[in-house]
């Protein structure tokens, strides 16, 4: 099933997306320390080029992949369509987030290349997570991703809120990582290995039934169940699922907006990748043990996210709660544990990354210098002042609400469809209820943009080309693939992981 050449051979094509991203960041750091003053456009060009290069290698790897999966580095890294698909999503999201940093760093007078470099290093951690085929490698990827993101959150030197966000994220993140690691240790205790394929083999046992057919079953032991529970806790924290979501609103509100765009896309993608990969290797027979708890988590995430969002007055904080609610939708596909469910989750992750980056790009512009004011007043009468920007934000918000003809609708339709196929009707009903409640908050912003009079002193904000490009790309992807979801959907269906 899995092609493996000589274990001492390293397949550099598999590692190429990772090398491109990580070395792009490290080389940039080296170059800046050797030269006196580097223009910020060079830094942006370099970093976006490295991120897109990583995407290009991933696409090459996708085309080149003739077997179902290839492993390398003593079977600790796996390249299958699942990992390559998510690598592309991470690479594109990183490129878009990097394009936002250029204008942001200029406006906030934060000289230095730390933000782009940290984003690239963090993204390389994310790529390790999606390609990991070994629990310790997965943990190292997760820490690489997280530690860079803690600093990204605390990046704004002159805003105390930013440092507070970094501190809160760090303490809770480090706390949750230890749970994840404890889970890894217990699973090692139960199976004697940290390699995912071997864990799968040690977990399911086969028995021959009376009629000659073979049935897979497994006998859970305490260590395995405890380890699985702890792993789910650790990953649920990373994706911001209730009840491990309490950091999300504070961190999103306090962090620099480009960092938030990065967190909401890349960190979520990597967290869900880990969850899907791990559960898929444990396989169908184990679903009775992790399915029900994840269903409860998904339901709570949907409801808490939607209902907490509608009472917020700060738009950035509101979007933080809405991202919690989106995590609940993605969890719907995961809990289904079917090929359809996984494909739906992948489609959701891919399209949501564009949506959320586009939305936060508009927020970056509207907050103005200081990056602090995200009250609804900032959005009043935006359609009079800047029709194009208001239209783009309208598209993005409607897509987040799940209105037809946008990617948001297709994504929500598919995950709810997966839940219905799986027979969890109650969960599907809760999801639809949450979608309706959440729609209210997006409409609140839209009404304010289009129907309210602009404030007297409101001036039009200047839209720099790069940020404008990010918003335009996000809006176009949302509309085009909302009307023709076929291409992304086909790729996601090709990329699903097995639930055996």
């Amino acid at each position: 099933m899995i092609a493996q050449a000589d274990p001492t051979q390293v397949d550099y094509l598999i590692l190429a997306p990772l090398i491109m991203m990580a070395f792009g960041g490290l080389l940039l750091l080296t170059i800046t320390s050797l030269t006196k003053r580097l223009s910020s456009s060079f830094v942006t060009t370099w970093s976006v080029a490295a991120a897109l290069g990583s995407v290009a290698f991933a696409v090459w790897l996708w085309i080149d992949l003739d077997t179902l999966a290839q492993v390398t580095l003593s079977s600790s890294i796996i390249a299958d369509k699942f990992s390559v698909f998510l690598t592309v999503v991470i690479g594109l999201s990183t490129a878009l987030a990097l394009m936002l940093t250029h204008h942001y760093l200029d406006r906030e007078e934060l000289p230095g290349i730390e933000m782009p470099v940290l984003m690239m290093l963090s993204a390389s951690g994310g790529i390790i997570m999606v390609m990991a085929h070994d629990l310790i490698v997965f943990f190292l990827g997760l820490e690489t991703l997280s530690m860079a993101v803690y600093i990204l959150a605390a990046m704004h030197r002159r805003r105390f809120e930013s440092q507070e966000a970094g501190m809160k994220y760090f303490v809770l993140g480090a706390f949750s990582s230890t749970f994840l690691l404890y889970g890894i240790a217990l699973i090692y205790g139960s199976t004697g290995t940290m390699n995912l394929a071997e864990i799968g083999r040690a977990t399911w046992l086969a028995r021959e039934l009376a009629d000659g057919s073979i049935e897979f079953y497994y006998e859970p032991d305490g260590l395995m169940l405890g380890g699985l529970a702890l792993l789910i806790v650790g990953l649920a924290f990373k994706v911001g699922a209730v009840p491990f979501h309490s950091w999300t609103p504070d961190v999103y509100q306090g962090s620099p907006t480009p960092s938030v765009a990065f967190m909401a896309s890349v960190v979520k993608v990597a967290g869900f990748a880990g969850l899907l990969r791990l559960l898929s290797f444990l396989g169908r027979p184990t679903i009775d043990d992790w399915g029900p708890p994840l269903e409860v988590i998904a339901a709570a995430t949907l409801l808490v996210g939607a209902f907490s969002a509608i009472v917020q007055t700060d738009v950035k904080r509101m979007l933080a709660y809405s991202s919690i609610s989106h995590a609940g939708f993605i969890l719907l596909g995961v809990t289904a544990g079917t090929d359809n469910g996984v494909a739906a989750s992948l489609f959701y992750l891919a399209t949501y990354s564009f949506l959320v980056i586009g939305t936060f790009a508009v927020l970056t512009l509207l907050s103005g210098a200081g990056d602090a004011d995200f009250s609804l007043d900032r959005f009043r009468g935006l359609s009079r002042r800047q029709p194009a920007l208001a239209l783009a934000l309208l598209v993005l918000l409607l897509a987040q609400a799940g209105v037809p003809l946008t990617t948001g609708f297709v994504a929500k339709f598919e995950v709810i469809g997966a839940a219905v196929d799986n027979g969890t009707y109650w969960l599907a009903i809760i999801a639809m209820l949450a979608a309706v409640v959440a729609a209210f908050l997006y409409i609140k912003v839209i009404v304010s943009m289009f129907l309210d009079e602009p404030a007297d002193d409101a001036a039009a904000v200047e839209v720099p080309r790069l940020v404008g490009a990010v918003v335009a790309i996000a809006a176009i992807v949302t509309i085009v693939f909302g009307i023709f979801p076929g291409p992304i959907d086909d790729l996601a269906r090709e990329a699903f992981v097995f639930f055996i």
């Binding site: 303490v171 480090a174 230890t178 404890y182």
Partner: protein, 101 residues
């Protein structure tokens, strides 16, 4: 009495719990970091105990990776604390509460 991996598991579970409770109830950021380190070391003990019980090297190797991660984590955490301290005096973690709602 024979020494089995279960003893190590029980001990590390206790140390892990002490660390977890410490993070939750202590209010000094530095002590919270120390409690996180305690939790990580409890996991290390789990790894070593289980690897010893199985006579397997993988768990022992994992400990080295965890040690490196723990060291890097401290660097990042202390950097954030220093950045905050330069702005204002910070007696307890409760003082960092501008963001709420």
């Amino acid at each position: 009495m024979e020494l089995t991996p279960m003893w190590y598991l029980a001990l590390s579970a206790m140390v892990f719990s002490i660390g977890a409770v410490g993070v939750l109830i202590r209010r000094n950021p530095l002590i919270m970091f120390m409690c996180v380190e305690l939790m990580l070391n409890a996991v290390n003990l789990t790894f070593v105990g289980l690897a010893w019980g199985r006579n397997d090297i993988d768990g022992m190797v994992a400990v080295f990776f965890v040690l490196v991660v723990a060291a890097a984590e401290v660097v990042v955490g202390l950097a954030i604390v220093v950045a905050i301290m330069r702005r204002r005096d910070l007696a307890t973690a409760d003082d960092i509460s501008v963001l709420r709602g």
